[in-house]
Structure formats: C-alpha cells, structure tokens
C-alpha cells in the first residue's frame, strides 16, 4: 500500500496545467470521439517483428500528400490557357510555368518538389507493391486491398500522364500526342477513348483545360477516396508479419513479452496448456 500524502504545490500546479492542456482535446473527444479514433489509428498493435520495408506504404502516402499540397499551391499561379500572349507570342500556360520557375519566390522549389515528387510517388508505390508481393501480404484476407492498391497505382500513372501536358511545351505536346494515340490503338473503343481524351479530333486548348481538370480535381479525388479505403482495410485487417516470422508460424519466441495480447495481428497460441494469456503477471495461476 502506498502511503497517501497531500500533494505538494508543484504537483497541484502541474495537475492544473495538464487539465488546461487537455481541456480542448477532452472537449473534442466528448463531442466527436475523434481523439479516440486517431489514437486507435495511430497506436494499433502490429507484429513485433515488422521491419523497415513496411514503412514504404506510409512513404508513398507522404509522397502523395507532398504532391497534393504543392499542387494546390502551384494551381494558384498556373494558367491552363493555350492562348497566345499577344505581348510575347508565347502560349499563356507555358509562360505561367516559366514565371513560377524563374520569377516567383521559391517557385522553383515548389515546382521542383511537384515535378520530381511525381516520380518519387510512382517509385514508392512500386517498391511498396514489391514489398507486399514478396511478403505475401496480398493473400487472404487482404486480396481486396491489393486490388485497391493497383487502382491507386493506375490513378497515379494517370496523374503523371495528365500532368505532363500542363507545361504546354514541345515535350508535353508530343508526349501527349503519342500517349493519346496509344490509347487510340486499343481495339473497338480505342479511337473513341482517344477522342474523349483530346476533347475533339485534334489536341487543342480544350485538351489542356480538360487534362488540367482531370489532373487537379477528378483523379486526386479518386486517389483520396481509394487511399481512405486502403487505410481502412489496413486497420481492419492488421499488418502482416514478415514471411520469416516465427510468431506467424505459430512458434513462441524465447523472450516473449507476456502482456502482448493475441488478436488480428497475432495468431492465437494453440498450445493446450499455459499460454501467454493466462501467464499474465497478477493473474491467478
């Protein structure tokens, strides 16, 4: 039994401060349950033997967030117009990109982040996909999450395709000509898909505005929805152990911490006698 004593003044002050700090969080939690939800999301149980490869998904998510934030800022300065600036004789869209890179403060940095981050996002998605494949993490019951992930990858590539046109220079134009006409070689509906993407028979200013809308509104919205579904499934199904995991194979590690609970992320021990569950300190055995 601990000896009860009156708290000192310092302890009382500390307690008051804690209450003051926690008040907004408690207010929010009482009315929405959001604090508990975030805690549930961030402090889930994961297998004890996960490794760094399993952070690739979070890295890809971070890359997407970088793209989203830099993209929103770039949209403040970019003009998706194929019209010719009468003062310079150059297309307005291309001039606005040059303005971002050369004149606006830190524009070069944000555009660079967006431009190179696009490749980083795709590369991280591929590495993440390779990790999931090699760990066998796509197997039952996680097949649906693999499918959702593939859709996110496809959407990411569509982002790359639509974003590539926006600088409206020669590279952008001819890459889009070839890319759209590749779609046009698909049997039966290919030419129709190509014409839909162009918004007409030839690439024009309509194609630029159409790609801009797809690039910054439609596809990112779809990606955000798919990522939400992806994360929901990760939380629901838990993180897989690596294929070399002794835990996942049903063997108990030597130095197993007894307070770990079996659950979705850990197999329930199948030994008949004393298990980790019953051997908790303070238990009645």
């Amino acid at each position: 039994m601990a000896i009860r004593r009156r708290p000192t003044k310092a302890e009382l002050r500390r307690q008051k401060m804690e209450e003051l700090i926690n008040y907004p969080l408690d207010w929010l939690e009482e009315r929405s349950g959001l604090v508990g939800g975030v805690k549930y999301f961030l402090f889930r149980n994961v297998p004890s033997d996960i490794n760094w490869m399993q952070t690739l998904g979070s890295a890809a998510l971070t890359a997407f967030l970088v793209q989203a934030i830099t993209g929103v800022i770039l949209a403040m300065y970019y003009t998706p117009s194929a019209a010719t600036d009468p003062a310079t004789g150059k297309p307005v869209a291309w001039e606005s990109i040059v303005n971002i890179s050369d004149n606006l403060t830190l524009g070069w940095l944000v555009r660079g982040m967006h431009r190179w981050g696009a490749s980083v996002f795709i590369i991280l998605m591929f590495l993440h996909m390779g990790r999931v494949f090699l760990f066998g993490a796509y197997k039952y019951p996680r097949e649906l999450n693999w499918i959702v992930g593939v859709l996110i990858l496809v959407m990411g590539m569509m982002e790359g395709f639509t974003g590539y046109l926006l600088p409206w220079d020669q590279t952008a134009y001819w890459a889009t000509v070839v890319g759209i006409n590749l779609n046009g070689t698909a049997p039966f509906l290919g030419p129709w898909l190509a014409q839909f993407l162009r918004g007409g028979q030839e690439i024009s200013g309509d194609t630029l505005t159409r790609f801009y809308s797809l690039h910054m509104l439609l596809i990112p919205g779809a990606i955000i929805g798919l990522i939400t579904l992806h994360l929901y499934l990760v939380i629901r199904l838990g993180v897989t152990s690596p294929p070399w995991s002794k835990d996942a194979a049903g063997k108990e590690a030597e130095d197993e911490e007894p307070e770990q609970r079996p659950g979705l992320t850990r197999p329930v021990p199948r030994t008949a006698g004393g298990t980790a569950m019953q051997a908790e300190p303070g238990g009645r055995d």
């Binding site: 006409n181 590749l182 046009g184 030419p191 014409q195």
Partner: protein
C-alpha cells in the same frame, strides 16, 4: 387444363374469358412516353432524341410483353410467408393481418420511394453532366479550309515542306505540315479541261502521329528560296525539298516519296489531304487515310479510305478491330 384433375376448375368454368385477361400493368405508360419521345425527336434531333425514345420503347415494350405473357409462360408461384401466432395478451385479442410478399407495406413503400426518388434525382443530375463531359468532343466537329496561297508558288515537280495553321482560332497548336508536290496540268476526265494535279501528303506518322521528316536536302542546301505566304491561315511556309522518302523520329517508321510504308510499326501509307483550287489558290480540305499508293505523281493510283485513328488498320482482316471511327471532319 391439367388432364389429371378429375373435377373441372370452377373458376375456369364460370368465367372462361376472364381467365385469359392479362393482369393490370403500368408498363404501357412508359411505352407510350417512349413513342412520344421518338416522335418529338424526329422533329428536334432524329439521331439522339429519337434513339433515346427508341430505347425507352424497346425497354418498356419488353417489360410489358413479359408482364402480359407471364401467365402463358407459367410464372413462379408466390411463396407464402411464414406465419406465427402472436401471444395474445390478457384482455386483448390480437389478430395479426397476414402480410403476403406482394403487399406493399408503408415502410416498404417509403423505402422504395426514397431509393427511387434518389435514383431519379441522381440520374437527372448525372446524365446531362456526363453528356457535357463527353459529347462536345464528338458532336459538331467542324471541318476547315486551309488557304495555302497561289498555286504559282508551287513549282511543278518540286516537293515543298509546307506548314500552315489549320484553325487560326486555336493558334499555333493547330500548325500542321504537309509534303506537297505540283504534278503539273492533267486533263480532268469529266470537264476535259486541264487542271493542276497535286500530291498532298500529311507529315503525321500513321503509327502514333509523330511528325515525319523528309529524308533529303532542303531549301538552303538546294540553293532554292523558302517562300512565306501570309494567308487567313497564318504564315504559310513553303520549304523546297528533294526527299528520298519520309522517316518518323519516334519509332522509326519509314515511307517512300509517295507515302507508302517501307519499314517500321506504321500500319499503312501516310494520310493525304483533299484539296481544291479556288481562284488560283490551293485550298486544303479534310484528310483521308490511304492503304497504299501505286505509281507516282498525277498518275498515282491512291487506295483511299475514310480517316482512321493512327495505328488502326484500314484494310485487311485487322480493320475489323476498329469497326467504328468517332465522328470527324
């Protein structure tokens, strides 16, 4: 009537004509609306509105016919729902009205009405919006007439790399290039008058529409002047060239002087432009696809096909992979 039944069915005996009446149905209303849409569409827009009406007629006609023939086809018998006696409370005699599967209860009606109305509202919003996203790229595609300047600029038997702006409203993005040769005067088979014959080959590769280049010396090397004409279609540049053929920088397709494919992934010969001569000026019209060309110059026999998307075969069995090309000018 079933033969094994010993006693005749009293219903059939008393009112035989009623037994053959189809059950009441609401489908004819939709059918009639469809007919009205077809007729209105004939006035407004026969292609679009009438075909929508046709679809409505077919769908509701099918549903109506299915309803009307349900008895003849022997529809599945209604399944009786399970019924249990409610425990009678003291002093009250509770009698439960048996609810059959067909009965529309209040909650079932509200559920259906909410879903149905939601669907209708969603459709009313989605259909025109989706149409706006898709249809403008397909409907009302306008053709262009491109004025390339006086035909006297085109020295007979000389190829010119000619660049021009197809649609001045779109500006430089619609700048195109054609390889043009004046084949000299030939006799028009109909009017028996001499007319100028031109070979006008689009430089866009029929593989994926990269710009092919003429393989051969151009103006400055030949010591010939490059002509620039200012017409309604921007500045038209005529650069003389002696091509041995045309080559595509993207994936290596090669074509001979008449545009026949000689190597690479291109499926057929280079596209060509229709043209007319108006007041001594060369006017380019729409493009068409070509499978191959036999002969050269004014005597060339051009195997001509409707404009097709790049990479698509225009003849042979492969053409059936692309049975319908989207509308174009």
């Amino acid at each position: 009537m079933e033969p094994e039944q010993p006693s005749p069915d009293p219903k059939h005996e008393s009112a035989p004509e009623e037994a053959h009446l189809p059950p009441p149905t609401l489908w004819p209303i939709g059918f009639a609306i469809g007919v009205v849409v077809v007729l209105v569409g004939l006035v407004i827009n026969p292609e679009l509105i009438s075909s929508i009406g046709g679809v409505i007629v077919v769908v509701f006609g099918f549903l109506w016919a299915r309803d009307a023939t349900a008895e003849l086809r022997g529809a599945a018998p209604p399944v009786e729902p399970e019924r249990r006696e409610a425990p009678a409370e003291e002093g009250h005699d509770v009698t439960l009205v048996p609810v059959t599967a067909e009965t529309v209860t209040r909650s079932r009606f509200l559920e259906g009405a909410t879903l149905g109305l939601g669907g209708v509202i969603g459709g009313l919003i989605t259909v025109p919006v989706a149409g706006f996203a898709i249809l403008p790229g397909f409907l009302r595609q306008k053709g262009h007439k491109v004025d390339l300047g006086p035909i006297s600029d085109f020295t007979p038997s000389q190829w010119f790399i000619t660049t021009f702006v197809v649609d001045p409203a779109q500006g430089e993005v619609s700048r195109r290039t054609a390889f043009i040769r004046n084949n000299g005067p030939v006799t028009d088979p109909k009017t028996k008058k001499p007319v100028q014959s031109f070979s006008i080959i689009s430089n866009r590769c029929v593989h994926l529409r990269c710009p092919t280049q003429a393989n051969g010396p151009t103006g400055s090397i030949l010591g010939m002047p490059t002509v620039t004409e200012h017409t309604a279609n921007g500045h038209v540049v005529l650069d003389p060239v002696v091509p041995a053929g045309y080559g595509c920088p993207c994936h290596g397709s090669q074509y001979d002087v008449e545009g026949n494919r000689t190597a690479g992934p291109a499926p057929h010969a280079l596209d060509r432009y229709e043209y007319e001569i108006d007041n001594g000026r060369l006017i380019l019209l729409s493009t068409y696809s070509v499978s191959h060309v036999v002969g050269a110059g004014a005597q060339a026999k051009i195997y001509k096909y409707g404009y097709s998307s790049p990479g698509n075969e225009v003849n042979g069995p492969e053409q059936w992979l692309w049975p319908l090309q989207p509308p174009h000018h």
